[in-house]
């Protein structure tokens, strides 16, 4: 067996993750923990400065409610989220975040994030909920505040968390390993916050060959949150609600600015705008098909109908948008000047957020003022903070949640002392970066209150348990080390499977059977059952993962995490006998939405010892009165 030293860290409150939610948690926890003499520790598998989805930067903050200026109300935001998720959302959680998100944004500004404001100090809005920012260093600014708050000595970077340490139903902390040196870590904590992001590359991406790995959501989000909460025995929700973004094809540059700022339209190969020609289809998804704005999955679906009928490719008419604006300039000289300005704006939008798109344009001789660019539906992602909804089922806050949704501490999972935030929490979509930060703050404050009130004992862990977890963690490296000489080619060995090959097996299963890109996002009962059969084989394969070094060890565990997310997803799609989110996935055998029977959450749990799955419905309870049809129609 490979030789790793073991380091045990004792703390009171353990924050797992280094993204926006974790940084919000750090800032809030540091304050409350100090009052109670508690220790806070944060663990990130990378470096907090650029961890998580906001790594490269953003050009807008996508959740700002504007409560203090009276622009919008908490209910406005709840309505928006519920409509976009086709009725399936925890209104209490969305409201819990909506009432605090503005203060996170104000903090960002205080910390140095340039948010566009006019001379009177009014925020410049890209859309109703979106603020324009100069956001290349957004994450660095937020990370700095988090690091200063809890102190660098309490932050462990480059430590990969494998899973929870459980004693029956009790979570004692987490275990993992350094990605830089041979160290196995045990973190013992009285309360733990799971904020390790969503999951990408569970499905086969469109990218292939040397481009493989390119995704819209960060590829380093590999399902660690879902794995942790599943293994802890926590109830999960909305595991079927994946998200499929439609973005510029292959580099996934943002389309938001093109739709909102440049007022572009997207057309098929025949020059038809599917949002116009397919409008009638929205009637089939009433009442949600009639709301404004049209839910994201339905917008996707209308475009997909064109593609399935052979009317692709779908293109963003960048040249039309730019030429239209330039043509109004007057003479040729003015038009040329205008074109130069617009060109700069078009490229800069990407440089803030998706440099790869600018590179792809440059590499393919695309001048946006001359040539349109394809947009396409990406492969599915698990992203509860954005337009997906998958994550753990957590308690709402006492003053907002119906009693069925409250069990002691806001944003605590069904496992006592395990809190969740950001992508780790389900049924609370449209948080984005700012909302995730706010949720981290809310959850952290509740966690400190939990520790202060419940006085959980400092965890003690049996040394045999530590040794067992260590052996399990290092098994891929041990197996590789022991058997690599069995063949002359390290990648081809009957004793182990390399993580990359394992990932390809997983992605092939999910793509073909659970409604991936090549299946046009369509599946059925038969396909899902076959998917689950194949995942059984894959689970056996996972015991034979082989890793040549620390990096591969991380990959081995990331793909194990992905596999668990995959199974939760497939089981949930199978359980929900309807199609509610066409444009995200389509059940060919249950092609209609069934409000009478399926206006509910689909929840699941993985039993920690029997490893049996339980699937069940939970009612959707409204915090505000259930909206009437005319309210959904904006009347």
């Amino acid at each position: 067996m490979v030789d790793f030293k073991t380091v045990e860290v004792e703390t009171d409150f353990l924050i797992l993750g280094g993204g926006m939610a974790a940084c919000g948690a750090a800032v809030e926890a540091a304050y409350w923990a100090k009052q109670h003499g508690l220790k806070v520790t944060l663990v990130d598998k990378a470096a907090v400065d650029r961890s998580g989805a906001v790594a490269m930067g953003l050009s807008a903050i996508n959740q700002y409610v504007g409560l203090r200026d009276g622009q919008n109300t908490m209910k406005d935001y709840v309505d928006y989220v519920r409509n976009d998720l086709m009725g399936v959302t925890r209104e209490d959680l969305v409201a819990s975040i909506a009432r605090h998100v503005d203060s996170s944004v104000h903090l960002f500004e205080k910390w140095g994030l340039p948010i566009w404001k006019d001379e009177k100090g009014g925020y410049v809005h890209e859309g109703r909920w979106q603020l324009m920012i100069n956001g290349e260093s957004y994450k660095v600014i937020v990370a700095e505040a988090a690091k200063n708050a809890i102190g660098k000595e309490n932050i462990y970077e480059r430590v990969f968390i494998v899973g929870p340490i459980m004693d029956g139903e009790k979570c004692l902390g987490a275990y993992g390993f350094s990605t830089r040196d041979n160290t196995f870590y045990v973190f013992k904590a009285k309360a733990t916050l799971v904020a390790m992001g969503g999951a990408v590359h569970v499905f086969k991406p469109r990218s292939s060959g040397e481009g493989q790995g390119r995704a819209w959501y960060p590829p380093w989000n590999a399902g660690a949150s879902a794995y942790f909460t599943l293994k802890a025995g926590a109830e999960m929700t909305c595991q079927e609600v994946r998200f499929i973004p439609v973005r510029f094809k292959d580099a996934y540059g943002p389309v938001g600015a093109w739709f909102l700022l440049f007022k572009s339209r997207a057309t098929n190969a025949f020059g038809e705008n599917y949002m116009e020609t397919r409008k009638g289809e929205l009637d089939n998804w009433a009442p949600y098909g009639h709301v404004k704005p049209v839910p994201a999955n339905l917008r996707n679906y209308l475009g997909m109908l064109d593609v399935m009928q052979g009317k692709g490719p779908i293109s963003m008419r960048t040249e039309e948008a730019i030429q239209k604006i330039a043509a109004a300039a007057g003479d040729e000289k003015a038009a040329k000047k205008k074109l130069k300005e617009l060109e700069a704006e078009a490229w800069e939008d990407f440089l803030d957020m998706t440099i790869s798109q600018a590179i792809l344009w440059a590499a393919t001789n695309v001048s946006p003022e001359e040539k349109s660019s394809e947009i396409a539906a990406a492969e599915p992602y698990f992203i509860g903070s954005h337009s997906g909804a998958s994550g753990a089922w957590v308690s709402g806050p006492e003053d907002l949640a119906p009693k069925e949704y409250f069990w002691g501490y806001e944003h605590m999972s069904t496992v006592k002392g395990v809190f969740c935030a950001g992508d780790a929490t389900g049924a609370s979509s449209h948080k984005f970066s700012s909302g995730s930060h706010a949720e981290g703050r809310i959850a952290a404050k509740a966690a400190i209150r939990y520790i202060a009130k419940e006085h959980p004992a400092a965890p003690t862990i049996d040394p045999n348990t530590v040794e067992r977890l260590k052996a399990e963690t290092l098994r891929p490296m041990s197996l590789f080390d022991e058997t690599k000489k069995a063949t002359t080619q390290e990648d081809v060995n009957p004793n182990y499977i390399r993580p990359k090959m394992f990932m390809m097996r997983l992605q092939k299963i999910m793509d073909e059977y659970a409604g991936g890109v090549t299946a046009q996002f369509t599946t059925s009962e038969g396909m899902l059952k076959r998917c689950l059969e194949l995942l059984v084989f894959l689970k056996e394969d996972s015991a034979k993962l082989g890793a040549s070094d620390l990096h591969e060890l991380m990959r081995a565990w990331e793909n194990t995490h992905r596999m668990y997310q995959a199974e939760a997803h497939a089981r949930s799609i199978l359980f929900r006998e309807e199609t509610r989110w066409p444009g995200y996935y389509f059940r060919a055998d249950k092609p209609r939405m069934d409000e009478a029977n399926w206006h509910c959450f689909v929840n699941c749990k993985l039993h920690p010892t029997t490893h049996e799955w339980e699937m069940y419905k939970r009612p959707i309870l409204h915090m505000f009165a259930k909206p009437q049809e005319h309210e959904l129609l904006g009347g």
Binding site: R68, G70, S103
Partner: protein, 139 residues
């Protein structure tokens, strides 16, 4: 929605506001806002230098009103021609905005909304405080 052929005037230049079509996914319930498209509007003209000096961007903003709520906010533009292709006929009917657009009217709207929310739950919704945290104190 009530019919009103005259639209309010820009408070910066006195130019009549013009209705324009919002993009599909902007998030607002209604599809039409009002804005001042007067290129000589001092608010618009000052905006160029303001945005470049403060944010290093070549953009400005126009005075814009959401007719449903009466609230105003800057509409970002990157040229004087931006969004002009979405201007609608002056006779387009929009929900009548507040004539005064003053803070008293805005306060009344907020109170009405807050009362509605309080009635629903029996408890007032918590509002996030807008003051940044002072050292040693929490909002």
């Amino acid at each position: 929605m009530t019919g009103e052929s005259a639209h309010p005037l820009c408070p910066h230049c006195g130019h009549p506001l013009q209705p324009f079509q919002l993009p599909e996914n902007s998030g607002w319930d209604e599809q039409v806002h009002l804005a001042c498209f007067n290129d000589d509007c001092p608010y618009f003209r000052r905006g160029w230098e303001w945005m470049f000096d403060h944010y290093g961007v070549k953009a400005s903003y126009r005075y814009r009103v959401d007719p449903a709520s009466g609230t105003d906010s800057p509409l970002p533009v990157w040229s004087k021609d931006a969004i002009r292709n979405r201007i609608l006929d002056a006779e387009v009917i929009v929900e009548k905005p507040d004539d005064h657009l003053n803070s008293e009217e805005s306060d009344k709207r907020q109170d009405a909304t807050a009362r509605k929310e309080k009635t629903r739950r029996g408890k007032p919704p918590a509002q996030s405080k807008n003051t940044p945290p002072r050292k040693g104190k929490r909002p």
